[in-house]
Amino acid sequence: MKVIELHRSVTESNDRDAEVLREELRQKGIFFVNLMSAAGSGKTTLLSRTIRDLKEEYRIAVLEADIEAEVDAQTIESLGARSIQVHTDGMCHMDAGMTRQGLEEMGLEGIDLAFLENIGNLICPAEFATGASRNVMILSVPEGDDKPLKYPLMFETSDVLLITKIDTLDYFDFSIEKCIERVRYLNPDIRIFAVSAKTGEGMKDWEDWLRSEITAWRA
């Protein structure tokens, strides 16, 4: 028996796979967004609205990751975007290998903008890189403005925070100012958009951000 010293992080090989995938997608001119949030925050609703608003400009695909069920992929396809449902068989997050497999199965020919709708939880998806160009997270008003205190890693690893369901602000004790302050403390560079996919408020700023990022990614 011999001892081999490794001192290697468990996520290191996944980080490498993710970097390779990210670069391959860049070569193909595909901007790929990893969308993360808790269950029930309205990921599918936000995506649906975004697809409706942008589908004349970009060809869009969505990788729907769920532990089970097919409902989200059907919703997305009915809007005219390409979609595939990936079942993780009990796993709580998508890693770079699973993401690659899903994207290859769905096919990316002609796609400009792809989304990964990650598994709904604020812990595990933050720890595993997927190969996305950008990480975007959703925090909906009913979840509460204290979530940055409870799930710091998710807020630290995200490039964008979407505060959603702002049409319900009158009914919840959610302070956008307090939330932003807590998030900025963890991640000073994060972009924050407050939106309602239901009324459309704030959606233009988020979609303009996507437009400028897509242009920069392809430059």
């Binding site: 001892v3 490794l6 290697r8 009990g90």
Partner: protein, 115 residues
């Protein structure tokens, strides 16, 4: 099942290392797990014992776990303190301007192997 996912990533890394070093058998693997890594070691051991039976390289691999203490640093008074005991607020000066120095790791420290 966070722990099972991490076990699969450990297995994948060990497969790569076995291929690189032409190893046929791994006697033991030592992991360093931080106190605030979010990994529950009892669950992790259960997941390991379930998974290794399905994985030829790891069938007889003993899992050794070492804990890395969580330590937080205060930017205001520049002191270090135990994260588990005091959390995010510095016990010396009550500042919130603190950050974790160590304790969220999940590292593969070393393996014992036969050629």
């Amino acid at each position: 099942m966070h722990e099972l996912s991490i076990v699969t990533h450990v297995a994948k890394t060990l497969d790569e290392i076995a291929a690189e070093n032409k190893l046929t058998k791994i006697g033991s693997v030592t992991l360093e797990i931080g106190e605030v890594s979010g990994i529950i070691t009892d669950y992790f051991v259960d997941c390991w014992n379930y998974f290794r039976r399905k994985h030829p390289l790891l069938q007889e691999t003993e899992l050794k776990l070492e804990t890395i203490e969580a330590v937080t640093f205060c930017e205001d008074c520049r002191k270090e303190y135990k994260t588990i005991e005091y959390g995010r607020i510095c016990p010396y000066c009550h500042s919130e301007h603190t950050y974790l120095l160590q304790g969220n790791e999940c590292n593969i420290k070393e393996i014992e192997a036969e050629d």
